[in-house]
Assembly symmetry: C2
Homo-oligomer: 202 residues x 2
């Protein structure tokens, strides 16, 4: 294994071990000393891997988004499912991550958007590009669903994808605030309505 590979593996390990800490406590409140403890690396090693805490935060977010997009591809890989079923698989994944998931698996965008978008322009841009890619991917699946007849064509796929993503972001904030799963029940009802249209009136 090359020196470069070893360096990258160690770096990845720091980022993986630090993610639950940042996911639970946010970015600003966590100091480098706490990151070192979470990542189980000796003092002083941090700057061997990252130029600054800000740079560490940028890499943490970038890696999170790369991993998320890979997860998305896996979720959408069942060719037996129609577009609607695939979107439901994604929304169930979102729900499970936040209700049953470990803190390290919870959405870093939900956790860091409000905190970091105002404080770091670079982290904001990483989140902007990342969420745009996720919404684009959802729009692809929705468009397929509109073609296979499983999703209503009332809303353009891009708008429907964006609104689903926003609705679930907001629901996850409300889950944090209420510690109840009701916001997700509400998000499911809205999502079904938006994907399927209102049921026919008698």
């Amino acid at each position: 294994m090359s020196v470069h590979d070893k360096h990258e593996i160690a770096k990845r390990s720091i980022l993986d071990n630090a993610r639950p800490l940042i996911g639970a406590r946010g970015f600003s409140t966590v100091g480098i000393a706490q990151i070192l403890v979470a990542a189980r690396i000796p003092k002083g090693s941090f700057y061997h891997y990252f130029d600054s805490k800000e740079r560490f935060g940028e890499e943490l977010l970038s890696l999170y988004i790369t991993d998320y997009l890979t997860t998305l591809e896996n979720l959408f890989s069942n060719s037996q499912q129609n577009g609607y079923e695939k979107i439901c698989v994604y929304l169930k994944f979102w729900q499970n991550t936040h209700i049953d998931g470990k803190v390290g698996d919870k959405c870093l965008i939900v956790k860091l958007a409000a905190e970091m978008a105002d404080l770091s322009e670079t982290m904001r841009e990483i989140m902007q590009h990342g969420t745009a890619k996720v919404i684009e991917r959802l729009a692809d699946v929705i468009q397929n669903g509109q073609q296979d007849g499983s999703i209503t064509k009332e809303l353009p796929a891009a708008i429907l994808a964006a609104t689903l993503y926003q609705t679930w972001l907001g629901a996850t904030l409300m889950l944090k605030i209420t510690k109840h799963t009701q916001p997700f029940d509400v998000a499911w009802q809205t999502s079904t309505l938006l994907l399927k249209g209102f049921p026919e009136l008698p």
Copy 2:
């Protein structure tokens, strides 16, 4: 004026002056020294008014919610408007606050939910009770709108109120991430669909 009144006025002034700072930078990153500067009070005065920074944060959020509920009553006070029009007035208020508003007017719930719900149980509870009251008030107006025929009865008023609130919370997070108003355009489209139902298919 009694000593108690003077004390309360001074306290309110500190909270009002500190709100833009917390609204822009969050709670954890702002130190008491910065709050004192923003509130233009001498060093050492902070603990004359608040037992701790946490207690200050709790009072800041409580006051924000009280003010917000008063604003809501003013927005809903036009008896010439039907339920749908009142909800649109509210959503326009939300939009304007975040697009044209000063930072001190922006939603503290959006800013602090993800950061503080995990860090302070008391602040989380204040946000929980506050958002529940807002959603209840929206549900009242929606129910009136369902009775006056301006809002569809497809969704129960309480669910529709919760989903509008969540959708706009999520849209505001996306506004912070993207620095574009498109998330609000999307939220408008979704809100109109949810309030009015899908247009009749030809």
